[in-house]
Assembly symmetry: D2
Homo-oligomer: 342 residues x 4
């Protein structure tokens, strides 16, 4: 008998990706699927690619429908997971793909979200220093945001090794699925295709404080982050270009060595061979972050570029990886590092 | 009788865009069309969209075939324009869309291109301070690179007004036409679609010294540029995100005022209303650069984002604008600021 | 003083394309711009590419706001144009981009639209036999649907010349702008990109009876049409593949001659050279239909393929072409046959 | 110890997809990887998504390098598999993803390929009537072409049940990976994006006789096929729209019942619920064909639409499915029917 698993928010993109991965996982048994306004409809109407689950009817997202499972994955709008988790019991593993419990600093939360902070949970980025330990045996996990996953893993080696100044500039391109299934004119195919656009410029994107939190922890000192997200004409993928002033006398060799060390033994972190640069398509559907790093000697900057599938390692794959760790399963179980390409 | 105009490199993307614009221009009369390996074939085989010119046979690119014109536009691989221009006569206006004569510093040229410098020509970015004057009556024009067009116009107001430090970070996304028609595996549709990728990271892109040159001139002091180009899944367009540390006590209002002043009266530079951000699709086929600027107070940085059509204002439109100026025609003649959208 | 022109539905895709064309037209002077739920907002919020009109405020679509113009273009949801036109006066030229007045047969209208028929207007496809004559001096014009434009112009020569049986199969791919700006999940960028999908299969698409009407007129006998539309991952463009059984002893040469004859002198119809096939990108932003035709001898079928920009010749360009004709202006005025490519 | 498996043509798209699937298959052990002009280079240079195999060096494609394996998958240009297979031994399972051994009629082969016929092998489409039996224990398998996979599975139920006339019209859209990694201008990203184009019109596509062969076998009488392929702006996927005259008095219910019967128990064939139509994105990376069928009563035609991933079920997934059958493994082993979406 498998591990009974519920997915709340099963009709959205994150929920669909969770189910795609869970359906191929050898230990999880898919139980309740719930939704908000789509409750009462069949999953196949929203996720036609999930053929083996197409006839499953979506229940309402309530403590009752989610009760009786060993693991509950939450893929809900922010503000929803705190009250729900409180009713699920301390013995249930709750893995929250939403933002509610990622930030440790209530003031940061309130500044960016405008609501009271729900408290922080163990943070689901095992590859960060100390990250894995915080997740073993945990009963609550806050899955990172997709941008912070890419940016934190791209920059922590340089900051942790003291090779870069704690003042970073990040420009990242994301596919349209990062905005979820929300019906807004600028997300229509006719607007997205053939166009790259900027949004939330000037430090207003809600993933910014999460990057600050992770990178400051890695650097051991406060890190400033200038973050500009852009929307690119693709369904999935994030390419994050991350730069910081190099500390004096840093060499390209020292930089590369720091990344090689930091990523050694990490199944899901790939440092590309010298001279090759990441493309998001290399990671499609895979639980991988591919990174390359360079030293721009003329500009005196470290440049690290990371590619990630925002729905896979950036959300659902990362969530399953954390669940594996929390439950004491092999961390890689049911996850692939091979993308679907071309 | 119109101004007799030749286009060298008519079977490439820049040449095609020159012809699209020239075909709608009231003063230019299209004369010789030349090509390299495509000489002897019909234009329609390479540029089927140029219906009215489809039957024109491409001549070889030689001084002879280009002789007898008032204006010659060169859209050639770098290294070709210097010797050719020398044989075209000083009374002919030569507008070079290639890189050969953009850089004033021979050492920069040699470091990035590895060949002897061919000398610099009047630089074709009229919107820069003093740029328009340098072009009136000129007989040789070096059209800027596509990335430098976007970046220089996005940043010069902040630097010229002393509002930003002379140390900038640029991350730009370009459509695939920026690489021309070269047959390389990573430019195949199956590789480009669904993917954003980085390339020429770490300061090696050849447009970097051109940005340094323009921004240093605007700032009145040497400017450092960290430039990372990325390839986005679209045919045309550049979105450049440009940031620099804000000088102490700069305000958002002062920043915005500097841009409003710098762009006032410029027909092809658009500062978007507050709260709106550029998308490349807004500029498709138009000779426009659309810009927005913000002050990120938490990160202490100025962030300017520019959208441009790399083939229009970024190459062929800019070239025609310069030709208008050099010939004493109205600067906007034959150029549109309205894009094809969606 | 120009021809005073109003556009109703200016915030939609068809309205935006009308304005893009009208802004470059030497005779039309843009007057009132109206909208439905967007009334009271600035055009620039919806059509940021229309830079020169960005500050124009959208009025409500009423007979009053549209009064006082020489020409009124209607780009409205179906069912809206009849009552509105009735109040505009018989001396005003009303060009309706909607479906209301395209069908001559009330029964067909009612079967596909479920509402009473509003009566038919002169049909705006000048290239069809007799089409031009019906439009000269007209005060009401029904602009064809985008699919019927492509299909009718691709097939009429074969049917009119008796070279094909009156039983045709059409499969057409359309870009997402064909669905307008309606907010539906399957039109989101993340769903459209990377995917081709079928819809309205089995004869239910509302453009079917319009194809039947046009092709039957061309053939001089009733024509059956099996039409399957598909949605392709592009913003604009229709590629229509149209086939019919070849009549006995038809030759490829006879077929080609029929098309060459039918298209002779037509500024907006292009028969491609033998061996070249249409691509929608060849027509982007142009008022052109590019066609190729072949005889499949093994299958005994005529195959004609047409490419058109659904918003240009397929809607707004066709509308302006008709307005030119109705007003006695040169038919090509303000229209280009050169697309924006690549 | 697993089944030793070699892949010839490992640096191409089909080879890469074979490796993606084989890497997740519980029984196959990946042995030699070979290539043509890429021999001597690392796989990671060509297939960066295949992270676990990135360091494997490509051998030359020769009988020697392929010797010593239980299974050899060939993903080679046509004309290469016959001589190679002759030297591999009769006890080795050779699965050919190329065209050489698909056609049973030498005259058809010679007409479309212009070379002598290499003889036919058991045909790898298990879902066709009798298809599975021909593959059990086979030592040679000809994997179908991608278009014939989609078209044959979409139409065989209607033809086998006598519900449609043996004269079919097929228009199919394919993603750019269907053309492989060949460096041709029309396959460049800048040309493919934003455009749908036709090619090989008029019956000249080499997959046509394979469709004729399969559909004639299903119908029990000669079937005529008019096939028009189109290139769509996506990396993967085929959407095939297939129509034929309905036989007299066929009803929609009878048609649907025929498909439900024909697909019953087929793990990889999905008949969508009524009212839903296939999209290629539903099948990305999955070994699935999704089909819908309708009766167009006005036009008197059966319309069947199929979506398939050209590289998965259309090539590599189909190949592994056949290998499973030939080796007596469970047919579904290592294959998924869940796509990567959105």
């Amino acid at each position: 008998m498998g591990i009974r698993t519920a997915v709340a928010g099963a009709s959205g993109y994150a929920g669909g990706e969770l189910l795609r991965i869970l359906a191929g996982h050898p230990e999880f048994e898919i139980g309740a699927l719930t939704a908000g306004s789509n409750a009462g409809t069949e999953l196949g109407a929203h996720q036609p690619h999930l053929r083996s689950l197409a006839g499953r009817v979506l229940a309402e997202t309530t403590p009752d429908t989610l009760a009786g499972h060993d693991v509950v994955f939450l893929a809900l709008p922010h503000g929803r997971s705190g009250p729900l988790a409180a009713e699920l019991g301390d013995d249930v593993l709750v893995v929250d793909c939403g933002a509610d419990h990622r930030l440790t600093d209530p003031a940061s939360w309130e500044r960016f979200y405008g609501t009271p902070h729900a408290g922080s949970w163990p943070y689901g980025l095992p590859e960060l220093p100390g990250g894995r330990e915080a997740l073993r045996g945990a009963k609550r996990v806050a899955v990172p945001g997709c941008y912070p996953t890419a940016v934190s893993l791209a920059l922590f080696p340089a900051l942790a090794a003291g090779l870069a100044e704690p003042d970073v500039v990040v420009v990242a391109a994301s596919g349209a699925s990062g905005a979820g299934r929300s019906l807004k004119p600028h997300l229509l195919g006719s607007e997205v295709m053939g166009s790259v656009s900027a949004y939330a410029v000037g430090g207003s994107h809600r993933h910014t404080p999460e990057m600050v939190q992770n990178l400051s922890a890695a650097a051991g000192e406060p890190v400033t982050v200038s973050f500009t997200p852009t929307l690119a004409p693709m369904s999935r993928g994030i390419l994050a270009t991350c730069t910081a002033k190099a500390r004096p006398s840093v060499t390209a060799a020292a930089l590369r060595a720091a990344y090689a060390d930091a990523y050694a033994g990490e199944p899901f972190l790939g440092l590309l061979p010298e001279g090759r640069w990441p493309a998001t398509a290399m990671t499609l559907g895979a639980n991988t972050v591919l990174v390359q790093v360079a030293l721009d000697e003329a500009a005196g900057r470290v440049v690290a570029v990371a590619a990630v599938d925002n729905l896979a390692k950036g959300t659902a794959g990362g969530a399953v990886q954390c669940a594996n760790l929390a439950l004491g399963l092999p961390e890689e179980l049911g996850l692939t590092t091979i993308g679907v390409s071309p």
